[in-house]
């Protein structure tokens, strides 16, 4: 992108005051909080792996180095490679075509690439687009490792996406306040979401059995005659 300079002066020193804004109107240089930005810029990963990187290199970096999602971790609050690359994306400002590649084809192959892209979309896109971009991946049940200050834990892509849609803070970053889905539906900007599980009324009626039936209902068996 035209505004990306190797010396990074514009983004880091001028804090994006002269650069373009993200599609949701926020300044990409200040979406992450100052202490976090400082930790990122100080980190070895940032200096070694995030210098003169373009949108295609991001894919390589994710595949080679991202083994977990998270913000800053450990007692030292080290920024994760995931967070550093998200910061790089804020700087690069990839457009929707690139995002679609990260999410779709690339995301199918590399789950951490998809995780990075959904996080980036949540930070920079308009509310309606965030829902449209992210909701398909509530179906993605792949496992992810989430690293926090206290340790690692298992999470899932759908859980991560749901967190991005409903929580206020994820990965050491305050997520901008989005109107809720219900609100957008009331304004007729969004159609109601259809769960991949199908008709919700049916599901809620039969929920107890399905939950207990756990793994077997995929094969169509039922316990009672």
């Amino acid at each position: 992108m035209a505004t990306h300079r190797a010396d990074e002066k514009r983004f880091l020193d001028e804090r994006g005051s002269s650069g373009p804004l993200a599609p949701n109107g926020l300044n990409p240089a200040t979406i992450m909080e100052k202490p976090v930005r400082e930790r990122i810029v100080d980190s070895y990963f940032w200096k070694d792996q995030c210098f003169a990187v373009n949108e295609a290199d991001i894919v390589d970096r994710v595949v080679a180095h991202v083994r977990f999602i998270g913000g800053t971790y450990g007692d030292a609050q080290k920024p994760s490679p995931f967070l550093c690359l998200a910061f790089k994306l804020l700087q690069l400002g990839p457009d929707d075509d690139v995002i679609q590649e990260y999410l779709g084809y690339g995301g199918e192959k590399f789950k951490y690439l998809r995780a990075l892209a959904v996080f980036y979309v949540r930070l920079t896109r308009k509310a309606k687009d965030v829902y449209l971009f992210l909701e398909p991946f509530l179906e993605d049940k792949r496992k992810l490792v989430m690293r926090t200050r206290t340790g690692r834990r298992l999470t899932f892509m759908d859980e991560f996406v749901d967190g991005l849609l409903t929580k206020e803070r994820m990965c050491s970053t305050t997520l901008w306040k989005m109107p809720s889905r219900a609100q957008l539906e009331d304004e007729e900007k969004l159609d109601p979401r259809v769960s991949p599980l199908g008709d919700i009324e049916d599901l809620l009626d039969s929920e107890p059995e399905e939950v207990n039936g756990g793994g077997s209902e995929g094969s169509g068996r039922s316990k009672s005659p």
Binding site: H65, L138, K143, V145
Partner: protein, 84 residues
């Protein structure tokens, strides 16, 4: 950043070790989300209905309701005070 990656084996993110169980677990998560969203909508509708109801009361009825509520609140506060 790669130096400590070896102690990673405590959390395994390999997919499709047990596809059926993983599908079931996902389904449970999805159902919980649907339930949570519906409850939020119901909650909101209940609130709107309550506002609507209050609007349609006469001034005296509203006052009576408020007084009853305040009296109840006060009573609760006093009983708490006694316990301490």
């Amino acid at each position: 950043w790669d130096d400590e990656e070896d102690d990673e084996d405590d959390v395994d993110d390999t997919d499709d070790l047990d596809p059926e169980a993983e599908y079931a677990a996902w389904k449970l998560r999805e159902l919980k989300r649907i339930k949570r969203d519906r409850e939020a909508i119901e909650e909101r509708e209940k609130e709107l209905a309550e506002i609507e109801r209050r609007k349609n009361l006469t001034e005296e009825e509203r006052k009576a309701e408020d007084d009853a509520f305040l009296a109840k609140q006060k009573e609760e506060k006093e009983s708490k005070g006694k316990m301490a």
